[in-house]
Symmetry: C2
Subunit: 406 residues, 2 copies
Amino acid sequence: MSLIVQKFGGSSVANAERVYNVAEIVTKTYSQGNDVIVVVSAQGDTTDDLIAKASEINPGASKREMDMLLTSGEQISASLLAMAIEKLGYPVVSLLGWQAGFYTSSAYGSARIKRVMPDRIKKELDKRNIIIVTGFQGINRYNDMTTLGRGGSDTSAVAIAAVMKADLCQIFTDVEGVFTADPRKVKNARKLKYISYDEMLELATLGAQVLNNRSVEMAKKYGIQLEVLSSLTRKPGTIVKEATKVEKMLISGIAKDDDVARISIIGVPDRPGLAFKIFSKLSAKNINIDIILQSVGRNGTKDISFTVSQANLKETIDILNPYVELIGANSVVYDENVAKVSIVGAGMETHPGTAAEMFEALYEANINIQMIATSEIKISVLIDRCDADKAVIAVHNKFFSEAMDA
Amino acid sequence: MSLIVQKFGGSSVANAERVYNVAEIVTKTYSQGNDVIVVVSAQGDTTDDLIAKASEINPGASKREMDMLLTSGEQISASLLAMAIEKLGYPVVSLLGWQAGFYTSSAYGSARIKRVMPDRIKKELDKRNIIIVTGFQGINRYNDMTTLGRGGSDTSAVAIAAVMKADLCQIFTDVEGVFTADPRKVKNARKLKYISYDEMLELATLGAQVLNNRSVEMAKKYGIQLEVLSSLTRKPGTIVKEATKVEKMLISGIAKDDDVARISIIGVPDRPGLAFKIFSKLSAKNINIDIILQSVGRNGTKDISFTVSQANLKETIDILNPYVELIGANSVVYDENVAKVSIVGAGMETHPGTAAEMFEALYEANINIQMIATSEIKISVLIDRCDADKAVIAVHNKFFSEAMDA
C-alpha cells in the first residue's frame, strides 16, 4: 500500500462532469489499495470571477480581505469533489487548509508555507477516508486565512506529500506532461518520460507553465517524486525526480517567456560599484532582474542592460529615472517587444557545443540575438518578440529531429 | 458610546450597489461613536445556487459536505462588505464564524449555537475595528464547519449581541418592520412601533417570515432589544422588547401560514391513552403537530384531527396507516388545501371578546372555520386555502379599522 498525493488544477474540476472524472481517478487509485490525499484548486474561472467581484467593489481592497474572499473558491471545489466521491460510494472528507494544518507566513496574497501539522490528516487516513484538501491556502499566526499566490496549489500538494512522506505526488493538469516545447506551438514537440528537478526548475522559471517553481524546489529538497499528467487523457505523464535517476538528455526542453521587458541604462560612468548600487536599489523593491549585459559605451562609459517582468517595468523605470541623473548616466531606455527563449538540459554540462548549435539554429532562421545568459544546464537568449515562436520551432528542430525521436 | 449589532440578510447585500448601501449604514453608525458588529448572510441567491450545484453532483450529499459548501457563501459576502467599508475609509475586519468564536452542536445543517467565545471580537473592538461576522455558521467539536439552518443568521446576530451585552441588535431585512398583516396582501396593514417578544414569537411561529423564532427566543432569554428594519428605506423599524415595556395592543398582528395540511384519523376506539400513543409515535420521528381537534364519531368512536407541515405530510401518513389498523381505527384521511390564519396580541389576555370578533369577521366574509386553537395571546383558525387571503383582509379590517389608526 502506497500513500499517493493527487493534485487537480482548476480546469480539471471546472464543471460537474469534470468533478466526476476526478472522482473516478481518485477512487480508482484508492480502490487499488492506496491511501489518497487530494489537493484541489478552485473550479475553472472561480478565482478570476471572485477577483472581478472584488474589483467592482474596491480595486484597492486589502490583501487580507482578498484572501478571505479567494479561499472560498477551493472550499467550494473541495466539498463538491467530496460529494461526487460520496456518490461513488467511497468514504471521504474534505478539509480546509487550516483544518489540514497548513500554517503560513503572514504575507497575504503570497504567503509561504511555514509548517504543516498533519494531525487531522493522519486521523482521517486511519479511518481509511479519502481526504480532499483545499490547495493554495493556509492560516497565519493571527488565525487569518492566507493564500499562497498563483500556482500555490502545486506547492500545497508537494508540502503535504513531503510531511506525510508520500510515495508519489501526481500533479494533474490540462496537458499530458512536460514537453520538449509548447505542443500548441511546436507540432513535433515530444512528451518527456523523465526530467530532473533542476531541469524542471529551470523550465518552470523560464516560462513553461506546467509546474509552479516553488513546488519543484520543495519536491527536490524533500526528494518527493512528482508526476505531471492530464486528468482528461489518463495516460502516463512525466516523472520529475533526482538527476542521478534520470538518463541525462542533452536538451530536455525549450521554453519561451513573453512576460519580459528589456531596460538599458545608457552612459554609466566607469566607476566601481555603480552597477551594484543600481541593482540593490531594485532588489530593495522586490524587483527581480534577469539577464544582465554590460557593454562598452562611448567616451569610457558603459551601457548596462537587463530584463524585468512586464509587471515591474513601470516601477523600475520610475525608480531608475531620478537615480540616473544622480550617478551621471545619460538616460534610461526600454523595449517591451522582446521575448526570452531558453533551452534546458542536464546533458549540456558535459557537452560544450550546445550553445553554438542553438545560435546556429537561430542564425539559420534569420533571428537576431540581443542578449545571452547561461547557467550550467540552461541557455537563454533575448530576441524580438515577433520572432519568438519561429525561434522555438527552429531550435526545437535542431535538437529534436526525427532521428532523435526513435 | 453603544455597542450595536447589525444583521443584514441576503437581499440587503445581493449586489455591489447594495453592498455599498450596507457599508454606508454601518459606517454611519460607527462614525456616530458606536462600536459595530455586523452579521451578514450570503448574497442574494448564493445559497440556493450552491445547493443547485451540489444537487447536480450528488442530491444525497452528506450534510457535513453541504455545510462545508454552504459556509463559503457568507465568506464571500463578508469579505466583499469589508472591502466596501475599506473603500469608504474605515477600519474593518471580516471574521468567519469559527474565528468569531461560534461553537455549535454537531448537527450539520441545523446546528445549535452552544457557546460564543468572543476573544477575537473583543480584540478587534479594542483596535476600534468594525467587525463583519459571517452569519448562519460555526464550528463543532470536530473542528468542522456547521450551519444553523435557514434563518440562522438572525440567531447568530442575537447570540453575539447577548454575549457582548450589546445595547441593540438591528435586523435589517427587505421589509420596513413588523406589520399588522402581510403588507403585500393587505393594503392598510400598519407597521408596529413596538411588539413584545412573546407576540413576535407567536407571529414568527405562525408564518410571518420576518424573524427566525429561535432568534426571538434567544433575545427574550437574554433581554436583547431587537429592531426589525429595512436596509433600503432607512426608516425606523419595529422594536421588539419586554412586554412590560410595550403598550399592550389588543391585536399586534395577523399571520397566514400556507405550509400546513390537515390529517384526520377516523373512528378511533374510545380507549384512554390512544391519542397519546399516536402523537408520541409522530414525536419520535420529529414531526411537529399543531392544531389538534378531537370530535365524537359514530358508534362511540372518536375522530382525531391535527395539522402538520406540508413537508411532513407524506411521512405522517406512512407512519399512521399501519398503526390505524393496529388500534382498530377506520382510516386516515387528509386535506392539503387548508391554511392557518392567526391573530396575535398581548392585550387579548384581558379582553375576552377577541375570539368572537375574529369569528364574526370570518362569518361576515362567508368563510367556514374547520378547526380552532388558542393560546393566551393567540387565536388560530384552520380554513380552506382559497379563502386565506380574504380571511386575513376581513380580520384585519375588523381589528384595524381607520378609526383605530389615528
